[in-house]
């Protein structure tokens, strides 16, 4: 029925559903709002499925393309399409939205409709950012998704939420304003086009490339986030409600990394090669430095937030190895981190809902009271530590292999995460889950409800499935990655 407009559906179904949820109004209609949100999220996921089933893995060309004129005066188009790089991310996003709606089912009792609507609208906007092939359209989605996230942190967050929300908003805005300047510059250089694929072919001098590179680095680097523009993330996570943390970690960070592949590397390849050392250094610092910082966190959410930064350091490192292992490794790491970080934040949410604390010291001996939870939490902790047979291993392994090809010492620093990752994750696990029951509150804790078990169980299957058989994921990426790598290898200097 909508054969040609799948991407539009993927974007607008959640947004329309979100508006419908918002229309239910006050908390008197909360059950209706929840139900509508679930239906909307489910529909949003269902309409995304044809992207995977109908995807042609043999071609690097954009698929499911839609193109309509939007602002003719400036040659702006409503231009959508996906390739092997963006398609998995759209599915991941639609899947995660479903999870957060279920996760917020009982926990959120205040302004339910607004909460659910914010997530649905954000989901649509993020899908838009992944699908946009027009610079301005991308920018609108890219900026637009900040607003619901800002509200989620600022309204449903913890005591220090206003500081965190402001920090987050200003940090990301700073980068994206510079990016806007670059987009406008590209518009003029390309002879009046906002088409991203046209930009890929636009020749640019080295100075211009360098400036554009730096503006993209700041814009996307803040989102990833890369060291040293990462300090908004731990604050935002700590203050955000569970669902906000899940989306933030699983999806929003990926938009930044996606920008590297869609914009920075193909548009300014010469500058990217020239300044690769900068990104590689920052990535390695993120892996080594942040690993140690994560070790000493007393707050579980902060710990996982820092761990996210280290894991995303692998992604950017992989991209700047300029080989298929590194790129596909980075993409795999993005998807895997989506599963694992979502699962870990949900785990922390499960504990927080029972004890209302995120401090490690308030727990201890959970295994005695919550054995099922302890087992699932163990699986996700091990995935976070990069254990083989979990998805966490696949990307890290590929990137370490890719780095060893380029320079032994890159691999050396990256591989320290084998030690630090295990140290901070398992030390936290030990203090929270093992040991004798820590206090009377822990004694009273109940094991997972059916709803929580469903959420974590689905993620457990995803983590294991991807770890044992990652081939379907990488097969989707091959054609696009190979073509893009070949493109990036060519100079664009005039």
């Amino acid at each position: 029925m909508f054969g040609q407009e799948i991407l539009s559906l993927v974007i607008w179904v959640p947004i329309v559903a979100g508006i419908a949820v918002l229309a239910t109004g006050s908390d008197r209609n909360a059950p209706l709002a929840r139900m509508l949100a679930l239906v909307g999220a489910l529909l949003g996921f269902i309409v995304a499925i044809p992207l995977a089933t109908g995807f042609d893995t043999a071609t690097a060309a954009m698929q499911f393309v839609e193109k309509k004129s939007w602002i003719p005066a400036f040659n702006v188009h409503y231009h959508l399409g996906v390739d092997g790089i963006s398609m998995p991310l759209i599915l991941l996003n639609s899947f995660t939205t479903l999870l957060v709606v279920i996760a917020g089912w009982q926990v959120i009792q205040d302004k339910v409709a607004q909460y659910m609507a914010a997530f649905l609208v954000m989901s649509g906007l993020i899908n838009g950012a992944f699908a946009a092939l027009d610079g301005i359209l991308f920018y609108v989605f890219f900026e637009g998704m900040l607003i619901p996230l800002y509200l989620i942190v600022g309204v449903w967050g913890g005591p220090n939420r206003v500081y965190a929300a402001f920090k987050f908003f200003l940090y990301t805005l700073l980068g994206s304003l510079l990016m806007l300047v670059s987009l406008l510059y590209l518009y003029y250089q390309s002879g009046g086009s906002f088409d991203i694929q046209t930009w890929h072919r636009t020749t640019l001098g080295m100075t211009a490339q360098t400036f554009i590179f730096l503006s993209f680095l700041l814009a996307f680097g803040v989102k990833v986030p890369m060291w040293p523009v990462h300090t908004w993330l731990p604050d935002a996570h700590v203050e955000a409600p569970t669902g906000g943390s899940v989306v933030l970690a699983a999806i929003t960070l990926k938009v930044g990394a996606y920008g590297f592949l869609r914009f920075m590397l193909p548009i300014v390849p010469d500058a990217a090669h020239e300044l690769a050392w900068l990104v590689i250094t920052l990535s390695l610092v993120a892996i080594a430095y942040i690993g140690l910082v994560a070790l000493v966190q007393a707050d579980m959410k902060k710990l996982i937030a820092y761990s996210s930064i280290a894991h995303m350091g692998f992604v950017t490192l992989g991209f700047f190895m300029f080989n298929p292992l590194g790129w596909e490794g980075g993409l795999v790491q993005m998807i895997s981190h989506g599963f694992v970080s979502a699962a870990l934040f949900l785990c922390i949410g499960v504990m927080y809902d029972r004890l209302h604390s995120r401090q490690i010291k308030d727990y201890g001996g959970l295994a005695n009271r919550m054995p099922v939870f302890a087992a699932l939490f163990m699986l996700f902790a091990m995935a976070n530590a990069g254990l083989p047979a979990t998805s966490g291993f696949v990307g890290e392994f590929m990137i370490i292999m890719a780095a060893a090809k380029v320079n032994f010492w890159f691999a050396f620093v990256a591989a320290t995460s084998l030690i630090t990752g295990a140290a901070y994750t398992l030390w936290m696990y030990k203090r929270v889950v093992f040991g004798p029951v820590g206090n009377p509150q822990v004694e009273a804790m109940k094991d997972l409800t059916a709803r929580e078990f469903l959420l974590l169980g689905v993620l457990a299957l995803a983590v294991l499935g991807m770890g044992l058989y990652p081939k379907p994921f990488t097969d989707v990426m091959h054609a696009s990655v190979v073509e893009l790598l070949a493109h990036v290898a060519q100079s664009k200097l005039p």
Binding site: L295, M398, M401
Partner: protein, 664 residues
């Protein structure tokens, strides 16, 4: 049924048992859990025997099970390499695992985590089989980490016990240090060979023998040496070689059955197996082999010495395991890979036996593990006693018993090797013979002979059920425990005599192990060998025999006749005694340097870097800067008309003045 299906059954049968017992333990109950897991391992054992016969008939296999991933022209696969080395390991793993499964029925009968335990040990069996059956580095690493995971879960099996959850974290992290080197080695293999498949890599190795890489400006390192050493770092972690040995003694916090299976017979020998499997690479680097030999020699002697002062029955056996792993490593360094693997096999039987016998004693002692409060158990526990004696005699290398053949050959190999460090290695393994005999029989005499001291023991057992039954006479354990002891005693007695000829000097290993012509140790050993019987007879004319005898004699004198002498010696040589009791202070050093160091560094980076510089100076600093500037400018926008009028007049005045000045 074709052979490929059979190969698949070997690892999948235990995996099936593990999944059923792990996920449905609550529904199938205790009996269901042990029936399904034991059946799984038994099927796996039978299948291994069939595979073994097939390999003996000359059929080897190297093929893919499924493609894990293809990327950039590189195929990463899960596949099997079935040759004589693999089948030998499969037999050892499945047999010992089967014995341990049966034994567990008795040992864990009162434990609330019964099903979970069976699930873990079956999962371990699966992981270990995937490790040994692998035909590529990726799957090797997969198995390598998977056995590490199960080891972690099992050391911390009693998760409310603080010492256990400390030990399991420590074990995992120390192993991760090894894996850090291991994965870098794999990275270099991929970077330079373009493949992770054993056959491809081994075939290409000779052509890269002279390759050098520059790790540091102006230095050229032999590629094979760097790869060999990095892979060996992994082996040092898993096989607990100095200086990554610290986790193994603490792993004794886990239940005894897994100490036997994982921390003696199988998992800790993975490093030995790996180096033997990589013989085509190691043969290309004398530097790597030399290093391996010296590390092994240090471990063999100095870890053995620690066994002398231990009073915990399991820890004595644990240090003995460390020392014996050192022996195997020495053999690897001497290019006597087949000898290392041969000792791996004999050791698996007699050490599993010693651990399980120790477990039997621990049950009889109501979980008091201190050998100072045992004694005279011989008459109460005849089967445990006789099997322990067999195990101990095999361990110290009594002629005609299994350990004799493997250990004697290792000592000979160290003597014949010409690599740098072989002199030290020979001295160390020779001295180690005396040490081994001494600590083994110190324990044996203290447990089974002499005065009965178990009524003096106070209840400081490790496990919660240590309180009941004190004061009653100890008695022999049930058949599920003694059965496996007897089943392991047989190979401890005879396997060496039966297999030395085909395994070391025959065609058994064939192409599975490669030795370069430059390293003639195996060849020379072959010339000295005149059959197992002659070798046993000849032993009485060699140093090791008399050193072992002296060790046993001294232990008997000290601990049966004059127990005051060791106490006096400990007082007299205080420093030496404290050095040994404190395990050379490695634990203290590591926890100060690494555990504390990392936390101090992390705190410094967090408080100083993130909160101080980035947030303090830059982020909040720029916010403050904006605030200050705006506070200044805000002063100007006061909203009072007379302020603005004043400013305006001042401006007009200034402008007019300037105009006049210019005119003049």
């Amino acid at each position: 049924m074709d052979m490929k299906t059979l190969y698949l059954i070997v690892p999948l049968a235990p995996l099936f048992g593990a999944i059923v017992a792990g996920l449905f333990g609550r529904w199938i109950g205790r009996t269901g859990a042990h029936v399904v897991t034991i059946a799984g391992v038994a099927v796996s054992f039978v299948a291994s025997v069939l595979v073994f016969r097939d390999v003996l008939a000359g059929h080897t296999f190297n093929g893919t099970v499924y493609a894990w991933m293809t990327v950039g022209g590189l195929n990463l696969e899960v596949g099997f390499l079935i040759d004589s080395l693999t089948t030998m390991m499969m037999l050892v793993v499945t047999f010992v695992s089967l014995m341990v499964h049966v034994y567990t029925i008795g040992y864990m009968q009162d434990d609330p985590g019964y099903q979970r335990f069976f699930s873990y040990i079956s999962l371990f069996t699966f992981s270990m089989l995937m490790l040994v059956m692998s035909n590529n580095f990726l799957q090797l690493f997969f198995g390598w980490e998977a056995v590490g995971l199960v080891s972690y879960l099992l050391i911390g099996f009693w998760y409310t016990k603080e010492s256990a959850i400390y030990a399991n974290l420590k074990a995992f992290l120390v192993n991760r240090v090894g894996d850090f080197g291991f994965i870098l080695g794999i990275g270099l293999v991929l970077a330079h060979f373009g493949s992770l498949d054993y056959a491809t890599v081994f075939a290409k190795a000779p052509s890269l023998a002279g390759e050098t890489i520059t790790l540091w400006p102006d230095t050229a390192w032999s590629l094979m040496t760097v790869i060999g050493l990095l892979l060996f770092v992994g082996a040092m972690g898993k096989s607990a070689q100095f200086p990554l040995h610290v986790w193994l003694p603490d792993s004794m916090e886990g239940p005894t059955p897994i100490s036997a299976l994982i921390h003696a017979a199988t998992m800790v020998t993975a490093g030995i197996f790996m180096v033997a499997r990589m013989s085509p690479l190691y043969e290309l680097s004398d530097v790597a082999l030399s290093t391996i030999m010296v590390i092994g020699a240090i471990t063999a002697l100095f870890m053995g010495l620690l066994g002398i002062v231990q009073n915990d029955i399991k820890r004595v056996v644990a240090y003995s395991t460390l020392s014996q792993l050192g022996y195997m490593t020495v053999a690897l360094g001497a290019s006597a890979y087949s000898v290392a693997v041969f000792h791996l096999m004999t050791h698996a039987f007699f050490k599993a036996l010693l651990f399980l016998a120790a477990g039997s004693v621990i049950i009889a002692m109501h979980h008091n593990q201190d050998i100072r409060y045992m004694g005279g158990l011989k008459k109460y526990m005849p089967i445990t006693w006789i099997t322990s004696l067999v195990g101990s005699l095999a361990l110290i290398g009594t002629p005609f018993l299994s350990g004799f053949y493997s250990k004697e050959t290792i000592i000979e190999a160290a003597k014949l090797s010409h690599l740098p460090g072989s002199g030290f290695a020979y001295a160390a393994v020779l001295a180690g013979v005396f040490v081994t005999a001494f600590y083994s029989f110190r324990m044996y005499f203290l447990v089974f002979h002499g005065k009965e001291r178990f009524h003096q023991g106070h209840a400081h057992g490790n496990e919660p059920d240590a309180h009941h039954g004190h004061g009653s006479t100890p008695h022999e354990t049930p058949w599920v425990i003694t059965g496996p002891l007897l089943a392991l005693a047989l190979p401890s007695l005879a396997i060496g005599y039966m297999t030395i000829e085909p395994m070391l000097f025959g065609e058994f290993f064939g192409k599975a192990i490669y030795v370069a012509d430059r390293h003639p140790v195996m060849h020379e050993l072959n010339q000295e060998f005149h059959g197992p019987f002659a070798m046993g007879l000849h032993a009485v004319m060699t140093w090791p025999f008399w050193l072992a005898a002296a060790g046993v004699g001294l232990a008997a004198f000290f601990y049966l006749k004059r127990p005051d002498i060791p106490a006096a010696l400990a007082r007299r040589f205080q420093f030496l005694y404290r050095l040994l009791v404190n395990k050379y202070w490695f634990d203290e050093l590591y926890s100060w340097l690494f555990a504390r160091g990392a936390r101090v560094l992390g705190t410094g980076l967090w408080r100083g870097g993130d909160q101080g510089v980035i947030d303090g100076l830059v982020v909040n600093g720029s916010a403050r800067l904006v605030e200050r500037v705006s506070r200044l400018t805000r002063v100007l926008q006061s909203g009072y008309i007379y302020h603005y009028a004043f400013a305006m007049l001042t401006g007009v005045f200034a402008l007019v003045t300037w105009w006049f000045v210019r005119l003049n």
